[in-house]
Amino acid sequence: MENLAALAAGFAVALTPSNMVLMLVGVLLGVVIGVLPGLGGANGIAILLPLTFAMEPVSAIIMLSCIYWGALFGGAITSILFNIPGEPWSVATTFDGYPMAQKGRAAEALVAAFTSSFFGAFVAIVMITAIAPLVARFALRFGPPEFFAVMFLSFAAFVGQGRGSAWKTIASMMAGFLFACVGLDTVTGALRLTFGSMELMRGFDFLVAVIGLFGISEILIAVEEGLRFEGAKARIDPGVVFRVWRELPRHGAIALRSSFIGCWMGVTPAGATPASFMSYGMARKLSRDGAAFGTGRIEGVIAPEVANNAAGVSALLPMLALGVPGSPTAAVLLGGLIMWGLQPGPMLFVEQKDFVWGLIASMYLGNVAAFLVVLTLVPVFAAILRIPFTIIAPLILIACAIGAYTVNNAMFDVMLMLVFGLIGYVMKKLDYPLAPMVLALVLGNRTEQAFRQSLLLSEGSLWVFFHGWLSGLIMTAGLVLLAWPLIGRLTASVRARMA
């Protein structure tokens, strides 16, 4: 195994004491960045990038990638504790993570999220180590029709089986699509739904909307029942880690499937966001009691967290091997590589072996370090919920405002966040499901873009999606998933008649 020898050499590079310290600093900074709103992975790394100028490229990339791991782990924390996803790919984690916290199981949810994240990351790193060049070539097969097919699959996995009124689900999703449309149309450059307003030209950033819809509205719902948060009485004992670990192997199938989805989405690179939604949706659809999802099922935390970390890690592969960033954070890292005189692309693996394998070795070490760090911090995070409501609520409001502001450095977004908070509150009270709206908001633009790019390429023929075997296969899988509840009902009734 040539790869293994190279990896061993890589460990030698990464394991120098100075690099180990950098790793730890990076991980800690990353967790802080992941928790602080408005300093998501991409921003955080962009901000710290100039500071690494004075370092060797290997050390610099090790530290920056550790910030990235830290942020990937840290993203789940606010999702679970306060229903505020700091990154698009943490949205799916809120669906079951926050209900768990409300039931006083915050520590369990956190441990499950971190362990799943680690599992996903680990699978992805092993994948990178073992079959990097092969996988990189797979990414080349992905043109616009394949991207659309993947987006379609995410929606198909997610849609259906929702509780409540079907009309309300449709209304919620369509409103999400409309919000996503506001601003510049990326395909033609035309302005849509802006009505001549400069502020609307910016469009509705996903984060602003979600901070409002999920975070602010949750505070409003919580205060209805008095000035306190549910889940404040969370028990924290060291045993929780082992309790959760004993339970996790039972969900091994979900974890494996989710890490496959994650690696695939990370490499292609569709990114961590569709990966997390897709694997959450699949976990729910394929589960025997899917209806219980959204009420605090541990699988609902495992599936998205495994997938988004697997995707987050494997997103570095197309970045290194092809020069295409799989996520905004990877895009910033890419900029860093270029600044240090490393040209990402097919030749990097040949010409800069030391660098590449040093980085891969640091992925192993960095993720272990990040995992240990966040795990030891679980009691601290869970204890945040014990802070009196009259202190934590304004702090959350402030954090949300900072988060909304820093997305575009725009004051208008802070107001928008409040408006979305009110919309979210009313919608929740009236049983409109919020998840479809957020899914549409997050993936709407890219789905539409891929659809139209494909039609540009095919000169208007819809068959383009079934033309290539890959897109055809994914589309078919999507159609099957879409029909899955129907199939389930059919087989059940057949079985009932047989009996």
């Binding site: 500071l51 004075a54 080349l140 990326t186 020069g323 600044m339 005189g341 990402p344 097919p346």
Partner: protein, 348 residues
């Protein structure tokens, strides 16, 4: 290991102190800030608070990279008394950043780095802002564009490519819509009479990979976005959209260097396009302020890091200030207007 990497390592000698090395800039900076909010002006003008460098695009793009390189260089070589703070304002295809500068008349601590959207965004969206509303400080460099095709495509030269494009609609991939890549495409159409199907993607790297995967037929990627695929033998450059050949003579592949790529004009395609990488200030700032920034940016350009960045990206190293810069801007604006008018990209 290449000479290039050694050179970078040489620069990084001081960083072995790691933890201190990593965190020191933070704390040193905060200390410096706390200690002297109002540094005494030695001579001429000096910044008295952090300098904000606006990026009219999101994080991770080329403009953002250059802004952060400037930030890093200034802090590493201690070129200014105050830190440079990079702030992204991607709203409205950059219009928001330009408007903020326009509305900050006389603010000496606000700069903006521009790309071609300084011309294209106001034209395409009708937002009332133009380069005349800002104070041009310095042209840092010009970004090159190269016509790329897949190495397995039958087109070995520009005339072959043009002939094929005239015969049937070829698919041209590019970054964004109504921006530089699409404008170049329109300019090619105008020069040759061929028609292309322009397919917009989100970033330059993605565009290059779409070409490698043969989902499109050609691109006009920047050198740095496609160089690795050229080296690995999957892409082929046909010509460069500059009036002169590129100056970098180090061999990129076995046989070719950047300087071996013909200009499009000498290859029979009369199209020229370079993208501005310039720094602008707020309107109405004092000449002493402009002078300070010109000197500061000159010192940035003189650092090895900057030169390294320029070679890496095979940039056109033209730099301008003052009147010549203003004339260049006026010419470019006019050219963008006529190209965009012809393509029907102007705001309705």
């Amino acid at each position: 290991m290449t000479a290039r990497l050694d050179h970078t390592q040489g620069d990084g000698m001081t960083s072995r102190r790691t933890l201190v090395g990593a965190a020191a800039p933070f704390f040193a900076l905060s200390l410096a800030l706390a200690a002297c909010p109002h540094p005494a002006a030695a001579q001429g003008w000096e910044p008295s608070r952090p300098i904000t460098l606006l990026v009219p695009a999101g994080t991770g793009g080329r403009a953002d990279q250059m802004a952060r390189a400037i930030q890093g260089i200034v802090s590493k070589h201690n070129l200014a008394r105050q830190p440079v703070v990079v702030q992204n304002k991607p709203g409205g295809a950059g219009a928001e950043a330009f408007l903020e500068v326009k509305n900050s008349r006389g603010n000496p601590h606000l700069l903006v780095i521009t790309l071609s959207n300084l011309f294209t965004t106001p034209l395409a969206t009708g937002v009332p802002v133009s380069w005349r509303d800002l104070t041009p400080i310095k042209m840092m460099a010009l970004d090159q564009f190269v016509l790329w095709v897949h190495a397995e495509s039958p087109w070995r030269s520009v005339p072959e490519f043009i002939a094929a494009a005239r015969e049937g609609r070829l698919r041209m991939g590019g970054t964004g819509s109504r921006q530089e890549d699409q404008i170049i495409t329109v300019a090619i159409e105008r020069a040759t009479g061929a028609r292309f199907t322009y397919v917009p993607f989100r970033g330059g790297g993605e565009v290059a990979v779409q070409l490698v995967g043969r989902h499109v037929d050609a691109t006009v990627n920047n050198p740095i976005e496609a160089v690795q695929h050229w080296r690995s033998g999957t892409l082929r450059p046909l010509c460069v959209f500059d009036s002169k050949r590129l100056t970098v003579t180090d061999k990129v592949t076995e046989t070719m260097a950047w300087s071996d790529i013909p200009t499009c004009k000498e290859a029979g395609l009369d199209v020229e396009y370079l993208m501005l990488r310039g720094i602008f200030g707020a309107p109405g700032i004092a000449p002493a302020v402009v002078e300070y920034y010109v000197t500061l940016l000159d010192r940035v350009r003189a650092t090895p890091e900057w030169q390294h960045l320029m070679t890496e990206g095979a940039f056109n190293l033209t730099t301008m200030t003052g009147e010549p810069f203003a004339q260049w801007l006026a010419r470019e604006e006019e050219r963008h207007r006529s190209l965009m008018a012809e393509a029907g990209f102007l705001a309705r």
